[in-house]
């Protein structure tokens, strides 16, 4: 242990002297032992970012360090928890301190009193190395927690136990004397090792039509959702947390609203995961560092989140991490960097912003784990560009790294088109690599359908420009019909009601069939036109508007049949009327 003294305090930044520390060592500052991290070393002075409010600290108070980096506890008990940015369980803090968060609390991340039922999967004499699975514990209803040998440890099993243990009790011993436990620690800023990364060939299905069909995300991929306030970032992130087909969800509320985190807390235990039919909370861990909680802990919160995500990946799970919002994280870096009086880069952000963002997103990936399983971490970061201006540094630096861009659009939001994802601005670079999967699962005509829909939407954009000038009546009949079909694609297919029980989640099959019926109607309309019908005859076919009802119907296949029949009926009437 090293001991020194406070030299200077300026907001969350404390300068200490008389202490030998390494970069990113954890230090305890002042008489209350507030937790902090070393971020700079200048001669005999060590500069510390403190995770808690520093009011009342005095120069001369003690500073101590054990020369260890900031670590998280990894073991059973993580899921269903809600942590602050440095993995302190908020429920425990509430018991200790009441309804308001006070400083100086030292609490264990994992409960020490719970005895987990451990089933060993190795036997005495087996040779094990870092990352190997030595046994399992039923952590929640949906997740079996695989107990791993900490990376870097290896040896022959000398002793292995079976039965009920707490996370601190010894469950086995290696021949070199290393004691195995249900829990191990890992530094948050150091990516966990794996054997190799795999190409992104499997989609992370989100249940959102516009995403799965037009801009798909791969398991192990990275995506950014930028958008101005009120455009639905948080609703989109929450929808992803609810319905994406990852097995474990890590939701990092980084510098966002307290009430929103509470909503997640109240809602998730009651919502049912469409993939497992169990409450969503069973697979979720929340990390909440709301905007008014200490800024340095906000900086740490995304690392805490991604380390937990990697840990479940190493157990062979598909993990999705939502970070809402990475802009607040970048701002935390800016704030600390400005307190450190560093030379700023663009808009006051530290010059290392780009490399920090890249490092973070690079921790995503679909990998072969040390135990030869396949696991993945998918990262979806919300970005909150000031004034909705995508040219600002955080958005731009993020876009250089991520492969999927879901652009939220304030205009769409104000037209109440939700999800307000702009179909012309957004893109996915996984479209090609995922195509085989979709073709196999959803049918050979998948890309054909998608391309048709995209073409329609693009043509609509051009036609709209003309309509703005001369009105839609001036367009040729066929183009008027095109506009109507594009509108159907927008309103019946792209729009999705996140607050409707049925519509909130759309399976690949439903997504495809919905698009199919719209494009089927398109074909019918083109036929009618060829036979001499006018655009207004087609637009006035009322039963086509019933397509929207398919979205809200649990038995969508039956509904599609009904709607199709109704439309066919009406088309016949039109043909009769026009004598064609």
């Amino acid at each position: 242990m090293q001991k020194g003294k406070i030299y200077r305090i300026s907001g969350p930044v404390v300068v200490a002297e008389g202490i030998k520390a390494n970069m990113y060592d954890v230090v305890f500052v002042g008489n209350e032992e507030l937790m902090g991290e070393v971020t700079q070393i200048k001669g005999d002075k060590v500069i510390i970012q403190v995770y808690e409010d520093t009011t009342g600290l005095k120069p001369g108070e003690p500073v101590i360090t054990y020369n260890e980096p900031l670590m998280v506890e990894l073991g059973p008990g993580i899921l269903k928890s809600i942590y602050d940015g440095i993995q302190r369980p908020l429920s425990v803090l509430q018991e200790m301190q009441g309804d308001f968060i006070k400083r100086g609390a030292k609490v264990n991340a994992l409960p020490r009193d719970i005895k987990w039922d451990f089933k060993p999967l190795v036997k005495v004499g087996d040779y094990v190395k870092g990352g190997d699975i030595i046994g399992e514990v039923k952590e929640t209803e949906t997740i079996t927690h695989r107990i791993l040998v900490p990376p870097g440890v290896e040896g022959k099993i000398k002793e292995i136990k079976k039965g009920k243990f707490t996370v601190e009790e010894v469950i086995g011993v290696l021949d070199n004397g290393y004691e195995l436990k249900l829990m191990h620690k890992w530094p948050i800023r150091k990516p966990r090792p794996y054997i190799k990364k795999l190409p992104p060939e499997v989609p992370l299905l989100t249940g959102m039509r516009i995403l799965d069909a037009l801009f798909p995300l791969a398991k192990g991929g990275t995506a950014a959702i930028p958008g101005p306030f009120g455009s639905g970032k948080t609703v989109t992130q929450q929808s992803l947390a609810k319905y994406s087909d990852a097995q474990v969800i890590v939701y990092v509320g980084c510098g966002e609203r307290g009430n929103e985190m509470t909503e997640v807390l109240v809602e998730f235990p009651e919502l049912i995961d469409p993939n497992t039919s169990k409450p969503l909370m069973e697979r979720t861990v929340l990390i909440a560092n709301t905007s008014n909680m200490p800024v340095a802990a906000r900086e740490a919160s995304v690392y805490t989140g991604i380390t937990i995500a990697e840990y479940y990946r190493d157990q062979g799970y598909d993990v999705a991490l939502m970070a809402d919002s990475t802009s607040r994280w970048a701002e935390a870096m800016r704030e600390i960097s400005s307190r450190l009086e560093e030379m700023p880069g663009e808009e006051g952000y530290p010059a290392r912003l780009a490399s920090k963002l890249a490092e973070f997103y690079e921790r995503a990936g679909r990998v072969v784990t040390l135990s030869d399983e396949i696991g993945s971490v998918t990262v979806i970061g919300a970005v909150s560009p000031p004034g909705g201006d995508f040219s600002e540094p955080v958005t731009q630096n993020t876009l250089r790294i991520v492969k999927v861009f879901w652009a939220l659009d304030a205009k769409l939001a104000s037209r109440k088109h939700f999800p307000a994802i702009n179909w012309l601005q957004s893109y996915s670079l996984y479209k090609e690599t995922l195509l085989d999967w979709f073709k196999e699962q959803a049918g050979e005509n998948w890309d054909d359908l998608i391309n048709k829909a995209m073409t329609l939407l693009q043509e609509e954009e051009k036609l709209q420009e003309i309509v703005q000038l001369v009105g839609s009546d001036a367009l040729p009949e066929s183009e008027q019909v095109k506009l109507e079909i594009a509108k159907m694609v927008r309103e019946f297919f792209l729009q999705q009601n996140a607050f409707d029980e049925v519509d909130a989640y759309s399976s690949v099959d439903k997504t495809k069939k919905l698009l199919e019926i719209i494009l089927w109607f398109n074909e019918q309309a083109e036929n009618l036109l060829k036979k001499g019908a006018r655009a207004k005859d087609i637009i006035s076919i009322k039963s086509k508007n019933k397509i929207i009802e398919i979205r809200y119907d649990k038995d969508y296949a039956k509904k599609i049949k009904e709607v199709k029949e109704a439309i066919e009926e009406e088309i016949k009437e039109v043909e009769k009327k026009l004598n064609i």
Partner: protein
């Protein structure tokens, strides 16, 4: 505790005083600065080290010199809170200015407050009736929400704030309701108006007022909202009251933040505002909410004027990212003589869905809101077209929506300063307007809802 007086001021810059050779002074400690003429000013430690302490003065630094002396009080800024504060008026530093006696009873509480543990919160879901149709129906306010008013210079946001303070009530009348009003950087004239209005309508009895005037020092402005919120938290969580906090004008607050940041020679963020403005705003706005197992609540309505009516300006922008929606005042509506000039197309209440519907307001509320929004948006869009092609060129249907938009502004949005409409009245008003549109065009309303409430089509066929 050492109460040594130091005569070691090395320099003064704007509101900042640099003091050398002190004992170990703690961060955030209060400071008294004694001028040569005996006058005493209050300040706070902003940066402390063995060699140099930076003190930020809450008051004007006029008269402070290198010969002035400095005393560190060993404690942070605290305010004495008690229910005696109701009906009283304080300055921006929390001193009584209504001529009455000082507050002596009650505990002294740190004004910085602490973050509510998200685990302790309950999601806000109780409707607050403001008596203003646009807010109640279109941007519903719920207890524990933070819903700002984005205004512009010259718009009647203060009248609106007063009207809300006067009329706001929760459905169950037996619960006690209080208003904490904090004015930052407002003019003497405005302050006078506020006080008079509070006194005249009897609203003062259940209000606590903090006034920081335009002539008061900028650094005091950073204290005022925190005093207000500390008081509000006390009334809400200790005295079980439902407290509405009105903060006006947050733009003045942000200007002070920038002024002090510049004086400290900090690296500025966007448009010269400090890089930590988001976090700073959050420490104010996030002090709203409801706590599990506590009866009271803190609801916030901060008011800010958007410089140049620009909603992307850092002040409204950062606010919008923290608050749960916004009410936007429109200059065009104001020019048309419509009060309150609430532009419903730009506003939003994020927590609205939790607070409306059967048992809370009325079963048709959500549908009515959506239909009003869509119909008004459509009518409003058509206005642009009318300017080009003329009204005559529009179809019958389009003309109906155009007329609807007009009527919506004149009957629904427009209401008197003392016109207190309950939610049923506001919803009925909406249904009257719907009669301008044939039933089949009202697509956002469900058939069963229309059956129950639609009053029949009263326009021309």
């Amino acid at each position: 505790m050492s109460f040594k007086e130091y005569k070691t001021i090395r320099g003064i810059e704007g509101p900042l005083i640099f003091v050398e050779k002190t004992h170990a002074v703690s961060y955030g400690e209060l400071v008294k600065i004694r001028l040569e003429n005996g006058e005493v000013k209050l300040g706070q430690v902003l940066d402390t080290s063995k060699d140099l302490v930076v003190v930020q003065s809450f008051e004007d630094t006029t008269g402070i010199s290198l010969q002035s002396s400095v005393r560190f009080l060993g404690d942070t800024f605290k305010v004495r809170v008690s229910d005696e504060m109701l009906g009283r008026i304080f300055n921006g530093r929390g001193e009584v200015i209504d001529g009455g006696l000082d507050i002596v009873r009650g505990e002294k509480v740190d004004i910085l407050g602490s973050a509510i543990n998200p685990y302790s919160r309950t999601p806000p879901a109780d409707f607050i009736q403001t008596g203003i149709s646009t807010i109640d129906v279109m941007h519903t306010l719920v207890r524990g929400q933070k819903l700002p008013i984005f205004s512009g210079s010259g718009l009647p946001h203060n009248d609106l704030a007063l009207q809300i303070a006067r009329q706001a009530k929760v459905k169950r009348q037996e619960e006690s309701f209080a208003v904490v009003f904090a004015a930052m950087g407002i003019t003497h004239e405005e302050a006078h108006k506020f006080i008079k209005e509070f006194e005249r309508t009897g609203a003062l009895e259940r209000a606590v007022i903090f006034l920081n005037l335009a002539s008061d020092p900028a650094s005091e402005r950073l204290i005022t909202p925190r005093l207000a919120l500390t008081t509000a938290e006390y009334l809400a969580y200790e005295k079980e009251m439902h407290v509405l906090v009105i903060l006006t004008d947050m733009t003045n607050y942000a200007e002070s933040l920038r002024e002090i940041g510049a004086a400290r020679q900090e690296i500025p963020g966007r448009r010269g505002y400090p890089g930590y403005m988001y976090t700073d705003f959050a420490t104010i706005y996030e002090r709203a909410g409801m706590i599990k197992g506590k009866k009271g609540s803190v609801t916030q309505m901060p008011i800010l004027t958007m410089p140049g009516d620009d909603i992307t300006h850092p002040i409204p922008d950062l606010t919008g990212y923290i608050t749960e929606g916004q009410i936007v005042l429109g200059r065009e509506l104001h020019r048309k003589g419509i009060y309150p000039p609430i532009d419903v197309l730009r506003g939003l209440s994020r927590l609205m869905n939790n607070g409306i519907g059967k048992g809370k307001t009325r079963e048709d509320h959500k549908e009515v809101y959506e239909q009003l929004y869509t119909a008004y948006a459509e009518g409003n869009d058509l206005r642009g077209l009318v300017a080009i092609v003329g009204r005559e060129a529009l179809s019958q249907r389009d003309r109906r929506f155009l007329d609807f938009a007009e009527a919506f502004e004149n009957k629904f949005v427009k209401q008197g300063l003392y016109d207190d409409r309950n939610i049923e009245e506001s919803l009925e008003l909406a249904w009257e307007l719907f009669s301008m549109i044939p039933e089949h065009e009202l697509v956002k309303l469900k058939p069963e809802t229309k059956k129950k409430y639609y009053k029949g089509f009263k326009g021309e066929e």
